[in-house]
Symmetry: C2
Subunit: 311 residues, 2 copies
């Protein structure tokens, strides 16, 4: 499959965690004849050059996409339209333009008006990442055994879709296709709501006047520290996601709030059976995630517990 998915020239616009992981994985698996990289930040370009992530690196997106067969936009969702406008005139006829944004409806809407006929717009979203940002944060195995969701618009060329899917499969990802609308609903619950809740609880804890920040930090191993990981994700990226998947996110907040109100009521009225019933059901979901290979079975995420050498 990897052989069939080789592209002559790959352009990566935006060389952060995801872009740089694509560059590394594509090179490692021999998926691209040449890799051109562009990033608006001269620092990021310098780092990418130093790390040898591409055959060409610069700040001009249009230069990078010239002659590319596959262009992947790895910029925040709110910057897609601007990048689309910048590269439109330089795209090669027949090129595939894709992206890695966590919202798909809004990305389509932003990009489609800019792209010339004869170019294939096939959005995609690899459901993978860490809380770190920047070209140095990426690694070649980031997509391995993670899902990449491809959302072909109506009437998309099947050949182009197949080529993009093969490219992601070649980097070790599992690929699934669905509509942009369905993607945005599913990710609202598996990704956007969790991030919002994590940001919110960390903010709540930081702002309490009755408990000091130093106490919150000291005793965070009681559960709180888990939430701080995704609440340390890139602020620009996540601002754009929430602004661009408003309806689905607000719907999920509504559901979450209803359920939390019921839980608070159970606590207030001492309904232990209701609590026990929920707390038992939720264990099964984690088991399903571990069994499906999307989570480690090691306790505590496999966090390292210090050994006794210094005890």
């Amino acid at each position: 499959m990897a052989k069939a998915s080789v592209v002559n020239r790959l352009a990566i616009i935006g060389i952060g965690l995801i872009g740089s992981s694509i560059a590394r994985a594509a090179r490692q698996h021999g998926l691209a004849g040449a890799i051109a990289i562009a990033d608006a930040s001269p620092e990021a370009v310098a780092t990418a050059s130093r790390l040898g992530l591409g055959d060409a690196c610069g700040t001009d997106a249009a230069t990078a996409v010239a002659d590319a067969d596959l262009v992947i936009l790895c910029v925040p969702v709110g910057a897609m339209g601007q990048v689309g406008a910048a590269i439109a005139g330089a795209l090669k006829p027949g090129a595939i333009v894709s992206d890695v944004g966590s919202v798909k409806g809004a990305v389509m809407a932003q990009l489609a008006p800019h792209l010339p006929g004869g170019v294939h717009l096939i959005p995609a979203h690899p459901v993978a990442g860490t809380e770190n940002s920047g070209p140095e944060a990426g690694f070649a195995t980031l997509f391995h055994n993670r899902w990449c969701i491809v959302t072909p618009p109506e009437g998309a060329s099947q050949q182009a879709v197949d080529a993009l899917c093969a490219f992601w499969a070649g980097m070790g990802a599992n690929v699934e296709t669905m509509s942009a609308e369905r993607h945005d609903l599913v990710l609202a619950v598996t990704s956007h709501l969790p991030h919002l809740i994590a940001y919110n609880i960390v903010g709540t804890a930081a702002d309490l006047e009755q408990v000091t920040r130093s106490e919150v930090i000291k005793f965070s191993a009681g559960g709180f520290r888990d939430f701080t990981r995704i609440a340390a994700s890139d602020p620009t990226m996540w601002r754009d996601i929430f602004l661009n998947n408003k309806d689905a996110v607000l719907e999920m907040i509504g559901r979450f709030n209803e359920d939390l109100a019921a839980l608070a009521r159970a606590i207030r009225w001492g309904d232990g059976d209701a609590l026990f019933e929920l707390f038992t059901r939720t264990r099964a979901i984690r088991r399903g995630i571990i069994d499906s290979g999307q989570e480690t079975a090691e306790p505590d995420f496999g966090r390292r517990h210090e050994d006794d050498a210094t005890a």
Copy 2:
């Protein structure tokens, strides 16, 4: 310090994750001359015996505490009163009775009426754990560099408090003393609210009719899977915690809800600056937790990303 904290005979009542970790750590650090274990479950007793966790193991708590200098109750918070009544008549004069419960006010209230004069009741709470339960889940380094909060009641014997603190320090824990009331407020935000939120979001996702459970599991690497870890914690233990720290937990839910309402409003009205401001502040909290040694600096909690061998 370890030398000074050696107790002649240690009794551990309840041999789950925490009890069995204490047994292992106390033995490893030579903190007890002998260890007696009791658990209401014959299966847990059999497992503890097989693992050699104590010098004596049985189902009768009163037998285990006879002649013990330090008794540590490692049972769910809701079972403390019952265990206190069962052991009261068998306690040696001058013995220290402690516990590991995540709520301290209610534990004091449950235990104090049962205990005879001449016995020192000094509650404690090691802020450490994993999502796993049972005697096999424990390990000797669980408390290493974690905080153990000791909540001496007014008028407690300083000698007894010092002995208990030294025992925990001997297992590698950092020890802090505070009032039971303060403990219950601080832990409501660093532990109880995070668990409640995690249980709640996992329940919300499981119950959605628009998104299937299989989709939730598949695409959980987008953030959701992080929450499933603490939502896989022991249901009995957590039911009891919420029922026994009602006021502080309900207060924290109220704060959380206010903040979430403000965030939802920012999303609805497209206030990107408000989102960006919060998402930037929350990064600093994680940095503080890592710098204080309460969290790994490795990305993704140090979760293992599969290597390329099978790619």
